[in-house]
């Protein structure tokens, strides 16, 4: 039997926040590795780059939002496909 709506909501929250933190932790760790590797391959530039976005028409999607979203879509698809 399927769980109640509230249970589903709670499950989604736990699953979603878990996904977000796991994913971001991994991303931070791997990005750190990549950066140190890249800096060994290439001497870092002297001054920070300051390229400006020009009149962006949209907000920037954050990996975190997308991670959360994925969890939501995933939960839903699991149930809806038969």
């Amino acid at each position: 039997m399927s769980s109640t709506l509230l249970e589903q909501g709670l499950e989604l929250m736990l699953f979603g926040m878990g996904t977000v933190f796991v994913f971001l932790t991994l991303l931070i760790v791997v990005t750190g590795w990549m950066s140190s590797l890249a800096q060994r391959l290439e001497p870092p530039p002297a001054a920070p780059l300051a390229r400006k976005r020009r009149g962006a028409p949209e907000s920037q999607p954050s990996p975190a939002v997308v991670a959360a979203m994925t969890a939501a879509i995933h939960e839903y698809r699991k149930d809806s496909r038969h």
Binding site: L5, L6, Q8, G9, L10, L12, M13, G16, M17, T19, V20, F21, V22, F23, L24, L26, L27, I28, V30, T31, G32, M34, S35, A38, Q39, L41, E42, P43, P44, P45, A46, A47, P48, L49, R51, R53, R54, A56, P57, E58, S59, Q60, P61, S62, P63, A64, V65, V66, A67, A68, M69, T70, A72, I73, H74, E75, Y76, R77, D79, S80
Partner: protein, 402 residues
């Protein structure tokens, strides 16, 4: 004289439903906010205008051929539609509409054939919606364009700031709980899929909200998109009191500098790295983040600048126009004006506030464990990378630390 009478009988004014008049007012308000108050005009101008078009009486611009046939309410056509959907002869228009919405692909096509044979056609906005959002292509192209506009330099210099965004996502799931709670109380009627789509408003990320809503809750897409873009625009009103309540002036005075220069190679590797991680861990996010990473790679790789320029300009502009008009098509009175919309707007503001608070508290928590002090204002901006939130945070930082 008789002609003028007929012109009047077929005119929009004579066919105007009260809900349509209300929605025209709402859409004019959106246009006012966009044009005079600068609320995310690139989306809200097309959305507001599309909403007016969707509510033109007797024009049916936002309806499919079958819906237009049903609203025209010709008895012969209704009987034919009911029969092509396998229903009895005396079905009510509302019942036929419901049956059409839920019909499997074969009956769906049969109903469309019946409507087309009887001379009805899809409305303009309905076609725009199907092509731009029904196929998911518009949010995907927007993401590619935004990727081509995004400089990940600051994030690469200090990747830990990604955690601030993570905390802010708490708003998303709190909203999901709120939506299912309202349903459990019997005040609203949201499925779990609806609740998940509503939660994304808390991410303050317009295209993601539209993309998820188009997959999980297309009926709520209008309200969700309007809420997402409105709250993105309302950041300057919603965030400051929350931030002031949760932080000391000393915290708001913390100065952050970009820690180090970021090389070209890192910037090329990052979108590929992000893509591979998404591919391995979150395959459902692959279309959206894939296009985003593709845009960013085009920007940073330096060998396809003509493609990157087009993705940032002509292509994203064209897509934005049709995306906005398509979202507007969901602002037709019969789809927008109900209690659920009110619930969505309320839940959206709650989502936003919780996300802001969680981001600020996360920044404070990180300051306990990290050597590099983080200004909690960045945490409030972390509710999303929305430029407005960043600007507000910046302004409050200047107030604290002039």
């Amino acid at each position: 004289m008789e002609n003028l009478l007929r012109l009047w009988q077929d005119s929009g004014l004579a066919n105007m439903a009260p809900g349509q008049a209300v929605m025209m007012g709402v859409c004019l308000l959106l246009l006012y906010l966009a044009i005079n108050k600068g609320f995310e005009p690139l989306l809200l101008v097309p959305i507001g205008f599309g909403g007016i078009l969707a509510n033109i009486p007797a024009a049916g611009l936002a309806y499919s051929a079958v819906e237009n046939a049903i609203w025209a309410a010709n008895p012969d056509v209704l009987t034919a539609l009911a029969s092509s959907l396998g229903m009895g002869d005396w079905s009510l228009p509302k019942e036929i509409l419901t049956a059409y919405t839920q019909a499997p692909a074969e009956l769906h096509r049969a109903a469309i054939d019946t409507a087309v044979n009887a001379g009805y056609a899809n409305g303009m906005l309905y076609n725009f919606y199907e092509v731009a959002i029904g196929s998911s292509v518009a949010p995907l192209v927007i993401f590619m364009g935004v990727g081509a506009m995004t400089d990940f330099g600051p994030l690469l210099a200090n990747p830990k700031t990604l955690f601030l965004g993570a905390a802010a996502q708490f708003g998303i799931f709190a909203t999901v709980l709120g939506a299912v709670g309202l349903t459990a109380l019997g005040w609203m009627d949201f499925s779990i899929a609806d609740a998940a789509a509503i939660g994304i408003i808390g991410g303050a990320d317009g295209p993601t909200a539209i993309y998820v809503a188009s997959l999980l809750a297309p009926d709520l897409l209008g309200a969700i998109a309007v809420a997402a873009y409105s709250y993105m625009a309302l950041v300057p009103l919603i965030q400051p009191p929350i931030v002031r309540a949760l932080t000391t002036e000393a915290e708001r005075k913390i100065e952050m500098v970009q820690l180090r220069a970021v090389g070209k190679r890192e910037k090329i590797f990052f979108p590929l790295l992000l893509l591979v991680l998404v591919a391995l861990l979150l395959p459902d996010a692959a279309p959206l983040l894939g296009m985003f990473c593709f845009g960013n790679l085009m920007r940073e790789c330096g060998v396809v600048d003509r493609l990157s320029d087009t993705a940032q300009n002509a292509l994203i502009n064209i897509t934005t126009i049709f995306l906005g008009l398509s979202v507007g098509s969901k602002l037709s009175a019969d789809k927008f004006l109900d209690l659920n919309t009110l619930g969505i707007l309320l839940l959206g503001v709650v989502a936003f506030s919780i996300g802001t608070a969680a981001g600020v508290l996360m920044a404070k928590a990180m300051n306990r464990f990290s050597k590099q002090a983080i200004n909690p204002l960045i945490g409030s901006a972390g509710v999303s990378a929305v430029p407005m939130a960043a600007r507000v945070s910046n302004k409050m930082g200047l107030e604290a630390n002039p």
